[in-house]
């Protein structure tokens, strides 16, 4: 058609004015969990992609947060970490507190703290610049994300369903991590795939 060039030209002008906005980072259930590499407390590198084939639990933590204390001092999270070891599930502790803020620790301090609390995470990831935390949209300590063996995000949210800092509530609470593990073991869908995270806000740099 003789007018094609004319109209193509006109449309380019139109198109130039419609700018695409950049999508903001957000992790979605049933979508592949974003992969990342980060430093570990031992001084090595952690690579999420290398854990394909294993279920992975990402736990955001801050040892000074009362909600974290509830789950560590009561032995709740250390127990879960031990269970993870026996089930060949990789438990990854992630510390996103910025330097100078509550919960910020060096690698050595993080290891010492875990020893003192009988905590047995498979990996301790140091994320002082908050990159991994913001990539996942982690908001609270604790905040739990579970990635299945195929690398798909199957759970995000709170550790259980009673949003308090009281240890006595643990017996009444429904632990979402165990629930998710049971569902994954049976090859079923995680019943509560997205729940409300609760705890202290993550002390990001900005």
């Amino acid at each position: 058609m003789q007018i094609k060039q004319f109209f193509t030209c006109a449309l380019f002008i139109v198109m130039a004015s419609s700018v695409s906005l950049a999508a903001h980072a957000e992790v979605t259930i049933d979508q592949p969990a974003p992969v990342f590499t980060a430093n570990t407390a031992e001084g090595g590198k952690f690579n999420l992609e290398s854990l394909k084939g294993k279920t992975v639990v990402l736990e955001w933590t801050n040892h000074e947060c009362p909600f974290v204390k509830k789950h560590y001092e009561s032995g709740n999270i250390p127990q879960l970490q031990k269970e993870a070891l026996t089930k060949n599930i990789a438990w990854v502790q992630i510390i996103s507190s910025a330097p100078g803020k509550q919960g910020y620790v060096s690698g050595a301090e993080a290891i010492k703290l875990n020893d003192a609390r009988s905590a047995k995470p498979a990996y301790v990831v140091l994320d002082a610049d908050g990159k991994v935390g913001q990539m996942y949209g982690a908001q609270t300590s604790p905040h739990i994300f579970i990635v299945d063996a195929k690398g798909v995000l199957v759970y995000k949210g709170g550790i259980d369903d009673i949003a308090t800092a009281k240890k006595e509530d643990l017996v009444k609470a429904n632990n979402y991590v165990r629930e998710a593990w049971a569902a994954l073991a049976d090859g079923k869908k995680v019943p509560h795939a997205s729940t409300k995270p609760y705890g202290c806000s993550i002390k990001y740099a900005s």
Binding site: M1, I3, K4, F6, F7, T8, A10, L11, F12, V14, M15, S18, S20, L21, A22, A23, H24, A25, E26, V27, T28, I29, D30, Q31, P32, P34, V35, T37, E64, C65, P66, F67, K101, Q102, G130, K131, Q134, M135, G137, Q139, T140, G151, V152, G157, A163, T164, A165, K166, S194, K196, P197, Y198, G199, C200, S201, I202, K203, Y204, A205, S206
Partner: protein, 712 residues
């Protein structure tokens, strides 16, 4: 205890905080932590059986610290009060005062700083024992945070003398319920490209006077609390754009919460608040946990109207519309002898034809939507009947332009005056025709405006379509009003006849293309039927032409013949099955560069972390086909696809496909084309490409992914 009561009376003030220091009750009405001073206050100094009263917990909070609202936001914990009474008494729920929002980095919390009083309604039973004291104990749990957080618990207590109703004191203002009024104006909640649009139809809420506005949801997960709530002006009030959260609403579910508006009134600022519970409109799909789409956003009706108008203007340049309009321009040159008034009448009648057609289209769209159909723009081309009729119309217009026969649409109006009926009808039908042929061409501006229109209530949808029609009609209307522009048009002459005949060929081309679309939809039989129909139309046109100059009887004979031919052509249309049989995807698979789209396949590829390029197209969409030809199937593009291991998925919307319509909706579109690129390992960050592609545009959207990916 008695002293306190007496003191209260002596003071004359209605201070009703009762101090309890007797040995029987160790707790006090007050308790302090380093961050918070808590006290328990009652609305009445003495109580009586059957009284409805208020007990309140007042928290005085140290500077820079805060406690939380019923929905604490992204982190934090709600303050709770556990009531215990010495006699059976029922306590209600805390009537929460208006919260503030606190932002720390990416986290947003809702709560209170400095001071807050949390009132609870209490109903005392009718058999409350007189003469005794009612002992009240409140176990209050809160989380107080500055940057760090501390959970705290205190127990507060009060003793209230129970007296006969006639004797007890007046209520105070210290402990008072301050209910937030329910919105007294219409509130709507509709799905939008990236989340939800909260429409507040109150003229009192003008964007110019609103200093700050925030919607505080009662429940977690309904909206993403940390995302900005973008304010825009609407005709009826204001709109807030909300982002869907991790537990999005389903259609019909209500979004409960409080809207807090700070208004400027001269120098002063006033705060008004409303409780809202709008239900997510059933007219639109619920927001799936969808990838965040960078679709162009439409803010408010005014902007949508503007976009629709601009889209209408651009439509004038579309290959299918341009011949019709040139025809119109030609006919105007021939009308050059007309008075200016007569010309303007022509212009307005043309505009009327266009707008009326758009209104009819909008009504049809609404009717189909009301019937629950999954439709988008260009939907009419999904009906084989419509495609076939369009092929007929295009062909008939072509024949007319070729000079086989003359109808009102053509240049019959030469030298005619205002009373010349064919001229007026010609203008009207040119308008109708322009609309009909324009529909398959979705201009980039219109995609956003129409996507918005489809989510709106009926009156707004109609307005948007009217605006679109005005845009389409505008250039011609302008010509009729601005004689100077007309002088720019070339002088009439023989060339007009040749140009007219030349324009017949694009019309034949369009007809041909529609037959090809039919072949995609229904296979070879449809081609046979539609071509036979075209033959009948050509025959009818010829009979019409030769019969015009003959006697009345012969003209009657001709009319009968034409009617039979046209009816036969229409009958052929009905032989096409109304529901399209999908053969398009299968018949396309001649090359191996792409694979047919399915939701499962996309999920699987994304789960494997593979890069994916999505192309949603339709055989009747010209820009789709042009894009494929000039950009997507170019060797340079295909080579990069191969090198980067990009899977090219193509979704065919030629026929109705609810699954694809839903994907389009997720990206805020109502029609094709839609191009989306999912970079490797970043399934949550799809990139939406423009609707007009060149190889360079495609490559620029695909290449940066590799560098971005390695940045972590």
């Amino acid at each position: 205890m008695m002293m306190a009561a007496i003191a209260a009376r002596i003071c004359g003030c209605l201070m009703t905080v009762l101090c309890l220091s007797s040995a029987a009750w160790a707790t006090s009405y007050q308790a302090s932590t380093p961050q918070v001073k808590a006290s328990l206050v009652a609305s009445h100094a003495t109580v009586s059986p059957g009284l409805s009263m208020v007990l309140a917990v007042k928290l005085e909070i140290a500077p820079h610290w805060h406690t939380y609202w019923r929905n604490p936001g992204d982190s934090g914990t709600v303050t709770t009060i556990d009531w215990k009474f010495s006699q059976p008494v029922t306590a209600g729920e805390i009537a929460w005062p208006l919260p503030e929002r606190f932002r720390m980095g990416p986290i947003v919390n809702y709560g209170y700083a400095n001071q807050v009083t949390l009132p609870t309604p209490i109903s005392l039973p009718a058999d409350l024992a007189l003469g005794k004291r009612l002992h009240v104990e409140a176990v209050v749990d809160w989380l107080v945070c500055k940057e760090e957080c501390i959970p705290q618990q205190v127990t507060l207590a009060l003793d209230l003398p129970v007296v006969p109703a006639a004797q007890h004191t007046q209520p105070t203002t210290v402990a008072q319920l301050q209910p937030v009024p329910v919105a007294n104006f219409p509130v709507h909640l509709v799905k939008q490209a990236n989340g939800l649009q909260l429409l507040l139809d109150s003229p009192a809420l003008k964007q110019s006077v609103v200093e700050d506005v925030w919607f505080y949801p009662y429940e977690w997960g309904r909206i993403a609390q940390s995302q900005p709530q973008r304010l825009s002006q609407t005709e009826a009030g204001i709109a807030l754009a909300l982002t869907a959260g991790d537990q999005p609403l389903q259609t019909g579910q209500a979004l409960h919460g409080v809207l807090v508006v700070k208004r400027k009134q001269g120098q002063a600022t006033s705060v008004i608040a409303y409780t809202l519970s709008p239900k997510l409109s059933a007219a639109v799909k619920p927001l799936q946990p969808s990838p965040d789409s960078p679709a162009p956003e439409v803010e408010g009706l005014g902007w949508a109207l503007f976009l629709a108008f601009a889209g209408g203007l651009v439509l004038n340049l579309m290959p299918c519309v341009f011949p019709v309009l040139s025809m119109k321009a030609l006919s105007m040159i021939s009308h050059a002898q007309l008075t200016r008034r007569a010309l303007r009448t022509q212009g307005w009648i043309y505009t009327f034809g266009v707008v009326l057609s758009f209104v009819l289209l909008a009504l049809l769209l609404l009717a189909l939507k009301a019937g629950g159909a999954e439709i988008g723009w260009g939907f009419q081309f999904q009906s084989p009947w419509f495609v076939c009729l369009m092929a007929y119309v295009m062909f008939a217009v072509g024949l007319s332009l070729s000079g086989v026969f003359d109808i009102g649409v053509s240049v019959t109006g030469v030298g005619s005056d205002l009373a010349d009926q064919p001229g007026l009808w010609g203008s009207f039908f040119t308008g109708v025709l322009a609309t009909v042929v324009a529909t398959p061409c979705t201009a980039p501006f219109m995609a956003a405006a129409l996507g918005f229109a489809l989510t709106r209530p009926a009156p707004e949808l109609l307005l948007i379509f009217v605006s679109l029609g005005l845009g389409l009609a505008f250039p011609y209307l302008l010509l009729t009003y601005w004689p100077r522009l007309q002088r720019l048009l070339p002088k009439p002459g023989v060339w007009m006849e040749y140009t007219k005949q030349l324009f017949a060929f694009p019309m034949y081309g369009a007809s041909l293309w529609l037959v090809w679309v039919l072949a995609q939809q229904q296979g070879p039989l449809a081609v046979g039927l539609s071509l036979s129909g075209l033959l009948l139309i050509a025959f009818a046109a010829w009979v019409y032409a030769i019969s015009r100059a003959t006697t009345v009887t012969k003209r009657w004979l001709a009319t009968v013949t034409i009617s039979i031919a046209l009816l036969a052509a229409l009958w052929l249309v009905t032989r096409l099955s109304a529901a399209p049989t999908s053969t398009a995807a299968a018949s396309h698979t001649t090359t191996n560069t792409w694979q047919p789209y399915s939701a499962e396949k996309l999920q699987q590829l994304l789960a494997e972390g593979k890069p994916v390029f999505l192309n949603f197209t339709a055989a009747w969409c010209i820009s789709c086909l042009v894009n494929e030809k000039v950009a997507l199937s170019q060797p340079a593009v295909q080579q990069i696809f191969q090198q980067q291991g990009i899977t090219y998925l193509k979704g065919d919307w030629t026929n109705k496909d609810a699954a694809i319509t839903q994907v389009l909706t997720q990206f805020g579109r109502s029609g094709v084309p839609l191009y989306v690129f999912y970079p490797a390992g970043q399934p949550a960050q799809p990139v939406v490409l423009p609707q007009i592609l060149t190889p360079a545009i495609v490559l620029s959207h695909i290449q940066p992914s590799s560098s971005f990916h390695s940045s972590f």
